[in-house]
Symmetry: C2
Subunit: 470 residues, 2 copies
């Protein structure tokens, strides 16, 4: 079949064609598989391409749509699941050597719900080993490459989910975010990513990293499409102990009118050694929101270094609790960075951990108070541009920074809060590297940040640009 640009179109465009029968899910899938075949060798976005299952699901979708049983905007649309989402009968590696041959006997709740929505699982996207890191430079499955510059990292840990979507190797994807793992690849690959409120989306059948920090969420080309995917996967699940039983709502058309909306700018997230191009793009985005009628004002938040320190203690401990048995039994099967982090986690005492959780509660109260003054906040998703693969440090305004710490600085802090976060493409560096803005919503208020993202994307076209090399 001759390759077309069909897989580069957004769900909004595709679903119009699918619903009316102008294209078939089978045709869309074959186009996507052809594109994967051509581009995945360079990108390495997938660990497993599930062509057989996908063809079966696409044929089913085709027959359902023909029979008039249209399930909604995801029906017949190919997606990638990060390879730590359990898929029945399909190996699920978590990017690790330990789970290289692990084949779950059941689907994770998010996978079940997307099947119900009629979506077509096209593959399992690569990730940083164990989702514990942000480069997606994986020693067991190879580096994942940024489609905007193949020498650079796509961000992580959901690097494959971001890179596959940006390159048209799927039409949306699933990621997880424990310390920035949705927001960083969204920003670095120039796609839209939503980390919903803690408890909104079930993690049942998703390999854990940090029990009180892990979130599952979607990547899509637009905020509106993130909303559709979010609505499909969110909602109460008795199998998830952190699950929240609250109605899942999408924004109304009226909510995309931003006149009078109060936007907080947390100056703590615009520190002195922010990359100047990132800062310029994010400040320009704030001006766009002002031009749409929003009232932008500075807002006081807790010190970002303290937020990050507290989040690091919690994650170090929680991640080691997950991996300790394998770490003791098979240390040689872990990547070097994993050993370093997991060993650090052994030395956290329960008292340190609990004090961090206590401080976390106080810090969350400061966020809750800030939301009495503003409707949502906007901050750089990532303080820096994507590093080169293998690069350990980077320079900003003449200072050397550790790539990992600099890249997670604006992201990790917010996992403490459990608040919903929407990352939007908001610009490019002079070298053509993507820049992302994150909107920070109040608890359970995905609606307003999705509405704001829709308004922003109505006014800008950063989200429409595609990697030039592909």
């Amino acid at each position: 079949m001759a390759e077309t640009t069909l897989p580069l179109q957004s769900i909004a465009e595709l679903s119009g064609l699918l619903r009316t029968g102008a294209i078939s899910p089978v045709e869309l899938l074959e186009q996507t598989l052809a594109r994967i075949e051509r581009l995945n060798p360079a990108l390495n976005a997938y660990i497993t391409v599930t062509a057989e299952l996908a063809r079966e699901q696409a044929r089913l979708a085709e027959s359902e749509i023909r029979a008039g049983r249209y399930r909604g905007p995801l029906h017949g649309v190919p997606y990638a699941a990060k390879d730590l989402c359990f898929t029945r009968g399909i190996r699920t590696t978590a990017g690790s050597k330990i789970l290289r041959d692990f084949t779950p006997s059941y689907d994770g709740t998010v996978v079940v719900r997307l099947r119900r929505a009629g979506a077509v699982l096209v593959g399992k996207a690569g990730l940083h080993e164990n989702a514990y890191g942000i480069t997606s430079d994986n020693p067991h499955f190879g580096s994942i490459h940024n489609p905007w510059d193949l020498e650079r990292i796509p961000g992580g840990s959901s690097g494959g989910s971001g890179a596959a979507l940006a390159s048209g190797l799927c039409s949306f994807s699933l990621g997880t975010d424990t310390g920035g793992s949705i927001r960083i690849p969204a920003a670095f690959c120039s796609v839209t990513g939503l980390k919903p409120t803690f408890g909104r989306v079930s993690r049942y059948g998703v390999f854990p990293l940090g029990h009180t920090l892990d979130h599952v969420g979607p990547f899509a080309l637009t905020a509106e499409e993130c909303g559709w995917t979010y609505a499909a996967i969110a909602g109460f699940d008795p199998h998830e102990d952190a699950s929240i039983d609250r109605p899942v709502e999408l924004p109304s058309a009226a909510e995309t009118d931003l006149r009078g909306v109060r936007v907080g700018v947390p100056e703590a997230f615009y520190f002195d050694d922010l990359d100047p191009e990132v800062e310029a793009a994010c400040r320009a985005a704030l001006a766009t929101f002002e031009s749409l009628g929003a009232v932008v004002e500075p807002i006081q938040l807790p010190d970002i270094e303290e937020l990050n320190a507290v989040a690091r203690v919690i994650l170090l401990a929680e991640a080691t609790a997950v991996h300790q048995r394998n770490l003791d039994a098979r240390p040689e099967d872990f990547g070097e960075d994993q050993i370093a982090l997991l060993d650090q986690g052994r030395f956290i005492t329960a008292v340190d951990y609990l004090n961090a959780q206590r401080r976390r509660r106080e810090l969350c109260q400061a966020f809750a108070r800030a939301f009495e003054r503003v409707d949502w906040m906007a901050a750089p998703a990532v303080a820096v541009l994507p590093a080169k693969i293998g690069q350990k440090t980077l320079e900003i305004r003449g200072m050397r920074h550790d790539v990992r710490l600099a890249t997670t600085r604006n992201a990790r802090a917010l996992n403490l809060t459990g608040l919903p976060l929407l990352t939007l493409p908001c610009g490019f560096s002079a070298d053509g590297l993507p820049i992302g803005l994150q909107l920070i919503g109040d608890a359970y208020d995905e609606r307003r940040i999705l509405a704001a993202g829709m308004a922003f994307q109505e006014a800008t076209d950063f989200h429409r640009r595609r990697p030039p090399t592909l």
Copy 2:
């Protein structure tokens, strides 16, 4: 004023008299204060008697009731708050030397809510130091004595709350329960005690011990009156991060009909070295439930030793996190048992703690499954009879046991689950020592265990007996 038996009457009786003006809250209070003056020296149930505040509140209640502004069954009724409930302007010691002179600037939520219900705070009840222990043998404020045998412990940590109520030194009281601290004194003092579901009653302004294990709840002479007090103090509180926003309901009259109700008997709680008199009384109580039409059947629960081991790891860590600073700075101000426990807590790693919390979630699922088969369960509240003050070990069926471990064995395990627990007087040993049964409800189902308690107390009179020595 001549002393009468008025303070020995239950809230149901008193509220009838108070509402109609047959007695005044001031008269009831003075009778109670006179009784405290006479009996407290022997019992040591109170750390602070708040006579002045109580007189003010009683006068206010009197004028409100006279003016026809009757607030409900607690209006004008004297109560004792465990001395770790914050009381504005009144010292709150937590039974510790560290807080000997601590005077809070605000009332805890439960104290605020009882003031709104019109109750009269007559004093701050003594407790085991820091609520961390079950003897209430307090090195800073003296031993609290069991009104049924002054040489014996009243149980703890809420020993003063149990002893004061059993002796008519208040008409109801508040306690907290982290590993049995309501159920043990309820059983040992022969009063009714309710540990509500985790998250039901706010702990804001209550000195903490174990953040994920602490509960606040009432002691009263009957299950019905526990319900009234529970209804007054329960409900959502934005100041409490574990607070649950669910309607608080009391049983309907129809629910006290136990015909066809399925009662589970968790054999794990009726182990071989249960005190024979405790076992006999609890089995007789099961027979009473059967005679009321309930269907009693054995039910499988996780191993109680594992439940206790998991609960101990969690509490050791959480308690040390609370006290570490003072422990480092002023170790000489802690009792010996406190030092021993708090030092153990230092050695728990975060990984151990988190593994215990993970195991806890699995164990809770086993309880949830059990509730698919039964409406509630019934087990001995305490496996042994109250030890003598100072006694370190006790003998059951020829085996020596540590008093603390034996006394908490059936209680601590259940704090892991957060489930509601109602302790009912269900018998006496040959020596006249009280025995308690605990009803274990499903999450948020205080209603059915309260209804069962009401039915049981309708059929029995253990709860009407009073300590013979007073």
